[in-house]
């Protein structure tokens, strides 16, 4: 009897070992043969590589696509997949002519029919379909020429077409339901997806039919997803990761000491701002809103939470965005440079003139206390704490609530929030309309102002760039005065690299310029 028990127990252990042994052999030998492999470390896996499905684009899914137009290094819009375009009549119709040698990763040509089908899928199912404008019809004129007709003029189309959201995607790889792209992805960008390790990495190789301006300087790229800051840094320091995107700010100095490491900085087009739900009674008074603006010390946040790697922004649009105006920026800077006394004065004029024992201002027996939402990015959480301390200096009590980005995106349009630390990144001033202050489109800020609506609506259909900028300047002037949100800063996007002969990052849209990338021998 004893022996039998013993045998069963041993058999169990042996069985477990065999099972584990089987699994082990499976993963060995991958990527060992590649001597020019680049490993890129980034925070999170894109939710999808399907550009019509994903809610966010990043380095790991952008290179799959090539765009119709692109921005050159000075921010001018230049042709890319198209050779030229022609605006017809009042601007509701535009004819596009495609390059004839572009090929999808599946081997199919990027022709007018393919682009039309891609746009149709975008319009019918992408969360970002509004970026294409209100399209009435798309007509194939010849193999490489097509015409888009909009219901209304849509000026932001050309700049929007430089983003991957409007890039053509090869619909021929989709199944009957129009899905399945992630299993068999095909775009026309520089990198072709060869392997998906869910939750761990995406492996790409250079696509041979892409215009590499010579030979690709590497054999494969592996995007590894490492959520933890510290782990990501350690992997880079140890040399297992060659390109570290979004270097955590607290480690930049440390890495700069390493002579093998090059730090690349590009100013991002993403503006971080402190916003609030303007429908909340507490934010109704413009004096309160201006007081908050006066209490914020951008430099202190930048120096102490971002290691100085950011530029303070006072006006509603950062420098890289079409519609930015030096005049507005200067005006806002003069108006809202930190002034605690002025802020306190405004607050007391607004009726917040008593102070309780904790130093919190009161009005009609109620203390000024609001909830600040922030996402789970560690740097943002640090910034939130500095903001909390700065606002406490004028007697505003802030409680910080960390929410997942998904929750913030979902809850803010319903107005469930009070204050939030958030950001937007879009290359065109139309973002003021479609995301920030447009009628029924003020998703995060819930700001209502008929005058601003009408200016933004006019600007969206104004096809002349000069007149368009003028309109945006007018809107921004009102926004500075009304202070419905507080622009804070644009962060420096910091990338650390090692062992590259050359490596360029696009100065405007911040993505890696893959044809320029050459691994050192």
């Amino acid at each position: 009897m004893n022996r039998k028990r013993y045998v069963i127990f041993i058999a169990l252990i042996v069985f477990m070992l065999i099972v584990s042994g089987c699994n082990r052999s499976k993963d060995s030998g991958v990527n060992k043969g590649n001597d020019r492999e680049i490993v890129v470390g980034l925070v999170s896996e894109p939710d999808s590589v399907d550009i019509h499905r994903t809610s966010s684009t990043g380095e790991a899914n952008i290179p799959l696509y090539d765009t119709l137009l692109k921005q050159d290094n000075d921010g001018n819009i230049v042709p890319n997949l198209i050779t030229d375009y022609e605006v017809i009549g009042d601007g509701k119709e535009v004819i596009f002519n495609l390059k004839e040698d572009a090929v999808f990763h599946s081997g199919k040509p990027v022709n007018a029919e393919a682009v039309k089908l891609s746009f149709e899928r975008l319009v019918s199912s992408s969360p970002f379909s509004t970026n294409a404008g209100d399209i009435d019809s798309i007509e194939v004129l010849s193999d490489y020429s097509f015409k888009i007709t909009w219901k209304d003029q849509f000026a932001p189309f050309f700049i929007n077409a430089t983003t991957p959201f409007l890039a053509p995607l090869d619909v021929s790889v989709l199944n009957a339901k129009g899905e399945g792209f992630e299993k068999n992805p095909s775009g026309s960008g520089p990198l072709k997806l060869v392997k998906v390790n869910r939750g761990d990495s995406l492996v790409y190789e250079p696509y041979k039919n892409f215009d590499w301006r010579g030979q690709p300087g590497f054999d494969s790229v592996k995007f590894r997803f490492i959520p933890d800051e510290e782990t990501r840094i350690l992997e880079f320091k140890k040399g297992n990761v060659h390109v570290l995107l979004d270097v955590p700010y607290q480690y930049i100095e440390d890495l700069e000491k390493d002579s093998e490491v090059t730090i690349k900085r590009v100013q991002s087009d993403t503006l971080s701002y402190l916003g609030w739900n303007n429908k909340q009674p507490i934010f109704q008074d413009v004096k309160v809103r201006q007081a908050i603006a006066l209490a914020i010390d951008r430099e202190s946040i930048i120096q102490n939470t971002l290691n100085g790697e950011a530029q303070a922004v006072f006006g509603p649009l950062p420098k890289t965005v079409f519609g930015y105006s030096e005049k507005i920026e200067t005006m806002a800077r003069e108006k809202y440079t930190r002034d605690i006394e002025a802020a306190k004065k405004l607050l007391s004029e607004a009726g917040w003139n008593e102070t309780n024992k904790d130093g919190v201002v009161m009005k009609d027996g109620k203390e000024f206390s609001v909830d600040l939402w922030v996402d789970d990015d560690p740097a943002n959480q640090r910034a939130a704490q500095v903001i909390q301390n700065q606002l406490m200096e004028i007697g505003m009590k802030i409680t910080i609530s960390v929410k997942e980005a998904a929750t913030i995106i979902e809850q803010t349009p319903k107005g469930a929030h009070e204050m939030l630390l958030w950001s937007y990144g879009w290359p065109d001033a139309d973002v003021l309309n479609f995301l920030l202050f447009g009628k029924d489109k003020s998703k995060r800020l819930h700001y209502e102002n008929e005058k601003i609506y009408s200016i933004l609506d006019k600007a969206a259909i104004e096809m002349k760039q000069d007149a368009r900028s003028k309109l945006y300047e007018e809107a921004q002037e009102m926004l500075v005065e009304e202070s419905p949100f507080i622009p804070l800063y644009v962060k420096e996007n910091v990338t650390a690299i090692r062992n590259f002969e050359s490596f360029e990052i696009h100065p405007i849209n911040n993505t890696i310029d893959w044809p320029s990338v050459k691994v050192s021998k």
Binding site: N23, D200, I409
Partner: protein
Amino acid sequence: MSSYLFKRIFTMIITIFGVSVLVFIIIHLIPGNPVNHILGDFATEESIKELEMRLGLDRPILVQYFSYMFQAFQGDLGTSYITGYTVVEEILNRIPITAQLALYSIIFGSITGIIIGVIAAVKKNTIYDQLAMVLALIGISAPGFWIALFLILLFSYQLNIFPISGYDGFYSLILPSITLGLGTAGSIARMTRSSMLDVIKQDYIRTARAKGAGTYRLIFRHSLQNAIIPVVTLIGMQFGYLMAGAVVTETVFALPGLGSLIVSAISTRDIPTVQGLLLFMAAMIIIVNFVIDLLYTKLDPRIQYE
């Protein structure tokens, strides 16, 4: 035995059914409509309605539940709205890692735990015993995530012995398994010690000793063999604990297993994935416990069930 088996299978089915109801309720209580999340900021009333219809979210909740369960029994746990992958695919992709992690942790925990427990029992009431038991308690009390951070810093970064993060075969799972297995080792050490002490007191050991059996022979041939039974049950009970611990461990070591999947699915509101995973994990735990129960009767024929 067969009537016991029948009864046991019956309660197992009831429990799985109950778990599915509970999971379904929890999932439907999670705030936020997945449709809003998919369509993003620019959804219109129309597009929301249409997508709800396409996903079957406009049907009465009971209908949704039964159709979900019907498909689940056919091996279809739904498809993620966000990633486009089916939940079964995701689970199959990742289960090898979590399974290995759990397995190695159990092996690590059992071996260290049994060794420490045996030492403590044999050297009862000496300083070795006390030291062993303090160690075991520390294993149970220390936060795994905290231990993991320092293990990485020391062994992976400073000493360069193990990979820092990610999955690359057995070698990359050593530190995570130690982290995860510490608690198990502590519990098993305590259990081994007390059950060995129980066994040593018993008559047949005294007889063996009287017959002149050597100490080591005694320990291994008689005491340990009998003391192992409650330890095996404990290992079964540890399985659920390991599943939960995997969530934290996989996050720290950036391992693409089931634990890190559930964390990311919750944070992106990927409802079908969360639902399928909870159901799958619960079912696994129920089944493992069932198997352990059966093993238990095989290991110790003295045990009889009503």
